[in-house]
């Protein structure tokens, strides 16, 4: 049987495909592009921060750079990346289905993503936008004269992509599981994608409406957020974070799912406490909707509201802690191989733990008063989003690359890149914790000279990180042509995608419909 990669070779056969595996490639291509756009912006402003004074970019250009970095990375890389690439590729394969429930809508999702992305890119190329990715009002709605509306339209359209993808995944997981694949036999990646999809469906409409209101105030001068027009600026923050905090879980939950698959495979163990890990994803998805106010402790919100949100933030940290403990326990008495994907998974646990623990500090109200809007917060959420989400994404890429392409990449290069990324990441972001506690505010292109040493270290780390990201790009492309043939199951993993089909799989995924008779991770 023809593999899905050779079943049609024209550009048209790719751009109009309804095969979830090919759509995954469309997402991979676009996400890689946006990742390098966002990454380049980051490298440029890290360069500016090498010295305490404005050197390369003026204030306005610096503000545009960090805005581009934030908007592109959050809305066009982190949120769509793992669901778009690995959710698409893996959900049908893992549950023994031929495709997702709505293949045409799946393709539509990608076009909405690209449409939104092109508008955002247009806003950047026409002259940029300098609101910060958070679009705080009334700055964004009244005061700035850059391409705010265009960028917002891009994010708005992209939101429909998220909603439709979420709907597609939820329906697929409910309706298309193979015979015998009960909920408690599902791979944990499916559980976490399910939780992610619920957030995408319920949360995304909120940001869409909120950003439309910003446009309404900009264009029509409807008083919604600007107090002079009768609006309330804090209303924007409540609405914005009501989506954007759950969105953090859209970014991290899929990576948590990936880590389960990798750890079980390379420790040759069942995931310890399967049901605790599975349900903790759902708890995170639900509780994640109730903690947005911890972004607003110093906003002027009531002191008692601050306390309630602080307590709820501690509660949402519990399921994350449960996951980390269970992953660690999974390694106990395993037979562990430190292949490239495993290094990413273990790196994820370490860095995510650091991100989570600093999150605990931020949930403590008096500490947050001091470090809010400083580099401490920047470091914290990069440990979650880069140390966590991106490490998980790269882990997934290295783990399922043989399945997606039928080729192996050089493992030594993979491990080297993982080590460089781990080192570069920590060198970039650890000094920012110190900078933050010293009081360096975020979004400053110039800063007091005594803070220079930490900034130089961070910029040095960023350039190492840049190299670390280019390496996989190079050897993965190389492997497409020269990599060794992978065979159906190079890692000796369990799971339908490894045991029941070839690498790369045929268009219809399985030659005969699989029937499941055992739970996930039957390694022992």
């Amino acid at each position: 049987m023809k593999s899905y990669l050779t079943d049609g070779v024209t550009v048209r056969s790719w751009l109009l495909t309804r095969d979830h595996k090919r759509i995954a490639w469309l997402y991979l291509t676009a996400a890689t592009f946006f990742f390098f756009v966002g990454g380049t912006a980051a490298l440029l402003f890290r360069l500016e921060l090498l010295t305490p004074h404005a050197d390369f970019f003026g204030a306005d250009n610096y503000n545009k750079l960090f805005t581009i970095h934030g908007i592109i990375m959050v809305f066009f890389f982190l949120i769509p990346s793992i669901p778009g690439v690995f959710g698409n590729f893996l959900i049908p394969l893992m549950i023994g289905a031929e495709d997702v429930a709505y293949p045409r809508i799946n393709l539509l999702s990608w076009y909405l993503y690209i449409g939104g992305g092109l508008l955002a890119m247009a806003a950047i190329l026409l002259g940029g936008v300098d609101t910060g990715w958070t679009f705080y009002t009334p700055l964004s709605s009244i005061y700035l004269n850059t391409y705010v509306t265009l960028a917002i339209c891009g994010i708005f359209i992209n939101g429909f992509s998220s909603i439709l993808t979420g709907l597609n995944f939820v329906t697929t997981i409910h309706r298309l599981r193979a015979p015998g694949l009960y909920w408690h036999r599902l791979p944990l990646f499916i559980w976490s994608m399910y939780a992610t999809s619920v957030i995408m469906i319920l949360g995304t409409p909120v940001i869409a409406i909120t950003l439309l209101l910003v446009v309404a105030e900009r264009a029509l001068h409807l008083g919604i957020f600007d107090p002079r027009l009768g609006g309330d600026p804090l209303l924007f923050q409540h609405l914005f974070w009501a989506y954007s905090h759950p969105a953090v879980y859209i970014m991290i939950l899929p990576s948590m799912g990936v880590v389960n698959e990798i750890i079980a495979c390379f420790a040759r163990k069942r995931i310890f406490g399967y049901s605790f890990v599975a349900y903790s994803s759902l708890f995170i998805a639900i509780l994640g909707f109730l903690v947005w106010g911890h972004h607003m402790f110093v906003s002027g919100m009531s002191m008692y509201a601050g306390m309630v949100f602080s307590l709820l933030s501690y509660l949402v940290a519990v399921p994350s802690a449960i996951k980390v403990f269970n992953w660690t326990a999974t390694l106990y008495r395993g037979r562990i191989t430190l292949s490239t994907p495993m290094l990413y998974a273990l790196g994820f646990i370490g860095l995510f733990t650091m991100g989570g623990l600093t999150g605990i500090m931020l949930a403590a109200l008096p500490v947050d008063v001091h470090v809010h809007d400083t580099y401490f917060v920047i470091a914290h959420f990069h440990y979650i989003m880069v140390g966590g989400a991106v490490m998980g994404y790269l882990g997934a890429l290295h783990f399922w690359w043989p399945k997606m392409t039928g080729r192996m990449y050089p493992d030594n290069w993979g491990r080297l890149a993982a080590a460089i990324l781990f080192f570069g990441f920590n060198l970039t972001f650890f000094p920012q914790f110190i900078l933050g506690y010293l009081g360096m505010p975020r979004r400053y292109h110039a800063y007091p000279p005594e803070l220079q040493v930490w900034n130089v270290l961070s910029t040095a780390g960023a350039s190492i990180l840049g190299v670390g990201y280019l390496l996989p790009f190079a050897y993965l492309l190389w492997s497409l042509r020269w990599g060794a043939r992978a065979g159906p199951n190079p890692w000796g993993a369990t799971g339908l995608e490894w045991r029941k089909t070839s690498s790369p799989p045929p268009t219809a995924n399985f030659e005969e419909s699989p029937v499941v008779t055992e739970e996930a991770y039957a390694y022992e």
Binding site: Y143, G273, V318, I336, L365, T374, Y437
Partner: protein, 317 residues
């Protein structure tokens, strides 16, 4: 400001709450450090000890894949530590938010891109804040345009300054010196230039500094009283309550019923709204179209002073 060590690790701590926040932070740091170390050591140890390609054969083997007692133990232990941290931090937060009685009142107005500060006797300064040592200081703040954030790292103090409402923060400086003042909330082009310095002085020095203002200073109270007279507020807002507008005697902090039936507290933000946009919310029993808006005649500083004066109006006996 720049007389610290070449590579600073720790910010100066110069207020009563700075030491308390540092203590909480260091405790959290110790807990986080221990947990992170334990997790990393376990992962490293397991990865080496149970490695599959060990020359003598892998040590790993079958082991239970769940244990309820373990899950309950680490979940409840985590939860208990979290609740303990929450209680500690919520109590400290409350102490940091509620100012002590008799604090020195200062006024701050933020705008793109400067901080304007006014002292009790009317002396003004821009991007500098002179304060006395060992005396609680309460700042009442608002913004003329977008959201800013008044941030003094050495005091571990930060508060967003929001247009259209008044926010407060307080501190008591404990160490003489000069400290950074930043705007922490992104506010447009020159956000990074909205910085200044805080000068903590001996109380006597502060008194002398206050007295030697260069510009003729009108105290906020006097300025507010003058504005009240100039705008003729008293013509309608008769203290007896029989004027066209409601009586303003004892207005500050009073519970007021609105024409919509809603009952609100007449705080500073409420008073500001009524001075600038009188028609938006109307007190029950009064008409909304009598009072003109004063938004084009008053600066934020004028409004602030006027409210300061209104707050001094005692209720009729």
């Amino acid at each position: 400001m720049n007389d610290g060590p070449l590579i600073p690790f720790w910010p100066p701590a110069a207020s009563t709450s700075a030491a308390a926040v540092d203590k909480l932070f260091l405790t959290l740091l110790a807990i986080a450090g221990l947990v992170a170390l334990a997790i990393c050591c376990l992962i490293l140890f397991f990865s080496v000890y149970y490695r599959a390609d060990r020359p003598g054969g892998a040590r790993g083997g079958p082991s239970p894949s769940n244990a309820l007692w373990l899950e309950i133990t680490w979940t409840s232990a985590t939860l208990m530590i979290f609740v303990w941290i929450f209680i500690w931090s919520a109590e400290l937060f409350r102490a940091m938010r509620v100012p002590p009685r008799g604090a020195l009142e200062l006024f701050v107005v933020g705008r793109q891109w400067m901080w304007k500060i006014q002292h009790q006797n009317g002396r003004r300064e821009i991007n500098e804040l002179h304060v006395p040592l060992g005396r609680p200081v309460r700042l009442t703040m608002t913004s003329e345009d977008v959201i800013h954030s008044f941030f003094i790292p050495a005091f571990r103090l930060k508060q967003d300054v929001v247009p259209g409402r008044y926010v407060t923060e307080w501190f008591e400086a404990t160490k003489k010196g000069v400290y950074h003042l930043y705007c922490a909330q992104y506010c447009g082009t020159n956000h990074a230039g909205m910085i200044g310095r805080v000068v903590v002085m001996e109380q006597g020095d502060y008194a002398r500094w206050l007295a030697h203002g260069s510009a003729p200073a009108v105290a906020p109270f006097d300025s507010g009283r003058a504005t009240f007279a100039k705008l003729g507020c008293g013509a309608c807002h008769l203290p007896s309550g029989f004027g066209k507008g409601p009586s303003l005697a004892g207005i500050a902090g009073r519970r007021v019923e609105l024409s919509t039936g809603k009952i609100v507290t007449a705080d500073e933000t409420y008073l500001r709204e009524h001075i600038l946009y009188p028609g938006r919310v109307v007190v029950a029993g009064y008409r909304g179209d009598v009072m003109p808006s004063f938004k084009d005649q008053l600066t934020e500083q004028d409004v602030m002073n006027l409210i300061f004066y209104l707050e001094s109006l005692k209720p009729e006996p």
